[in-house]
């Protein structure tokens, strides 16, 4: 086997220096005893060490079937050892365990679909991250993002007035094209609250523009909040900071409740959807979200089927579609997404495997958010995705998720694929009828 490369991360190193054996032991056992329960025990007792999860993992496949990158291999390097030693592991071990859990697993849950017993390895990796959070050895870049959440309630250190400014700026731009268009702020009683992730006002403002164009042309009764609570993203979920995750989701739902909207429509982001639809509501004690949560893909499908948006021209260039884990394995939106894609793109080519068996972009699960120190390893770990993209022969790939864009962009660059990435909203905006346009 090739020598294992352990990457140095500033915050992990600094945090590990402060660790004592007692603190490690106490923390691990506290998490196992108090936070994990029957599920962890059943998973460890049930796992037959069969290795059948391996073929599910893009890390394993991309790294020439190196067993240290198989899902169960990652459990062996983390949870098993912690349980065997009853928490008596070294700081060095914890540094490595954090690299495994935080940067070598996207928590995409593909392996869950491959395990005969349905063992949720992503959950076990999240437990390791939780331990890392409590030991303060979370990688620097993602911890900075979590700090941003804590300080500003958004992911990108966007100040309250900058947020409003970004929306008004986009409205202004949009009115050149659609003179009557509005981005309604703080409209109480609107049908829809539209929420986005921090990077949209920060450096992908054109997505707010496009979404606003779609909302206006479809005649939606919608609003965006002018207060914190506008950001639906959640890196705290991926650092094991459950308390912060709870605060974030509470503020997001509270904002929607304050605006008395019927539903929350979310932009094209995967992890945020997982957080709002699947994880955050549980932290707050709701079985399902207290306000209907609709991902952009489903929203577009609804608009198309209700006849609120119409196809003006086709996007003729051949396209393929990347299924983001969190809205496909996390919400089953793959068929609806395809119906929308096919409506606009007559030359649609599937990559294989696809739909709920897609390969992850290798950016999700907070991996890309761990930043530059881990970038090369991450890109190397997704060769299979590059091969899969290349095999389609197309030059345009639709990826309805921010993280997927980041991850795919990196592999497209590294493997010289020459593929252009698009959000689905971009294509809809380009090709739909715009009766109000000048």
């Amino acid at each position: 086997m090739k020598e294992r490369v352990w990457i140095k991360d500033e915050a992990v190193e600094r945090g590990a220096e402060k660790l004592t054996p007692e603190r490690i032991e106490k923390t691990i056992n506290a998490v196992f005893d108090n936070e994990a329960g029957a599920r962890l025990k059943a998973y460890v007792d049930t796992c037959a060490h069969c290795g059948l999860c391996s073929d599910a993992c893009h890390f394993f496949l991309s790294r020439d079937r190196d067993p240290r990158f198989s899902p169960v291999g990652k459990v062996k390097q983390t949870i098993w050892e912690m349980l065997d030693k009853k928490g008596k592991v070294s700081a060095e071990f914890m540094k490595q365990a954090i690299q495994v859990a935080q940067t070598e697993c996207n928590m995409c849950r593909r392996c869950v679909q491959y395990c005969p017993f349905g063992i949720d390895i992503a959950y076990m990796m999240s437990l390791v991250r939780r331990i890392g959070h409590k030991l303060e050895i979370t990688p620097l870049y993602i911890q900075d993002t979590a700090h941003s959440h804590a300080a500003t309630m958004n992911q990108m250190w966007v100040k309250d007035d900058e947020w409003i400014d970004a929306l008004i700026w986009q409205e202004d731009e949009l009115r050149d094209e659609l003179p009557t268009a509005r981005i309604p702020l703080e409209k109480e009683g609107a049908d829809i609250m539209y929420s986005v992730i921090g990077p949209e006002p920060k450096f992908r403002t054109q997505l707010i523009y496009q979404a606003a164009a779609i909302m206006n042309e479809a005649g939606c009764d919608w609003t965006m909040p002018a207060t914190p609570g506008w950001d639906n993203s959640d890196m705290a979920m991926y650092t094991g900071d459950s308390e912060m995750m709870g605060r974030l989701k509470r503020m997001h739902f509270d904002t929607a409740a304050r605006l008395r909207v019927k539903k929350i429509v979310m932009g094209e982001c995967g992890h945020a959807f997982r957080s709002v639809y699947d994880t955050g509501n549980r932290v707050l004690g709701w079985q399902m979200p207290p306000i209907q949560v609709v991902h952009a893909l489903e929203f577009y499908w609804d608009l198309l089927n209700e006849g609120k948006i119409k196809v003006a021209k086709k996007f003729e260039e051949p396209v393929t579609f990347h299924d983001p884990c969190n809205v496909v394995r996390g919400r089953g939106l793959h068929e609806k997404a395809r119906e929308v894609v096919r409506a606009f793109c007559p030359n649609f080519i599937e990559m294989t495997p696809n739909k709920e068996h897609n390969y992850c972009c290798a950016a999700g699960g907070g991996v890309i958010n761990c930043g530059p120190p881990f970038k090369n390893a991450r890109v190397e770990s997704n060769r299979v995705k590059a091969e899969q993209l290349q095999a389609t022969g197309v030059k345009v790939c639709i990826a309805p998720c921010h993280n997927c864009h980041g991850g795919l962009e990196d592999i497209i660059h590294k493997y010289k694929l020459g593929i252009e990435l698009k959000f689905l909203g971009e294509i809809i905006y380009d090709c739909m009828e715009k009766p109000n346009a000048v």
Binding site: A38, G51, V112, G118
Partner: protein
Amino acid sequence: MQDVYLLVSGPLAWAAWTIFVLGSIYKIWSTLNTAKKKDQVLLNYVSFKYGMRSIINWSIPFNTVNMRLNPIFTGVAFFFHIAFFVLLIFVSAHQIMIEEGFGIGWFTIPDFVADIMAFAVIGACIFFAVRRVIRPEVSYVTDWTDFALLALVAAPFVTGVLAYHQLGDYMLMVVLHMVSAELLLVAIPFTRLSHMLLAPLTRAYIGSEFGMVRHVKDW
């Protein structure tokens, strides 16, 4: 030897079955009880419909993507698990003992079929062992306990075949057959063989999450 035979076929057998049954009940009860105390967040999501959907889909050979990716393993694993229970319940020698002991009987399989199946089960165990050695992703997560459990599972079949063909001391083989089967029974609730008891629970839970919350197949 006669005394030993009487011991293993009488009190020890009762003890093994008792430990197996009580141990199994305890295992399932303690898992559910801990879940109730600590994992209410999971129990709220368990759905009979989607749990069963998952269990059924994973019980059909070659029905899941991963089963089709590993056709040989799938074939061997399905055969092994089915043959295990078929031999346990329908072998005529077992049947005779049950009839003598409890006065009830049912259909049995011909001895030559049972014989072939037993050899095939041993073959399956060898297949699993070899796979553990030669497949890097399996050997990486294998330790001695995996081989020990496999040996424990194979032992009743090896001794059963030896006894049936009267190879070696017949009485000794019968005794070893019974002892190894009793050890296996006792081990089920307390080792990773407890997947026999827990797999339906883990399957039902994840099936419910995938079906009810995520609206997607888990196979």
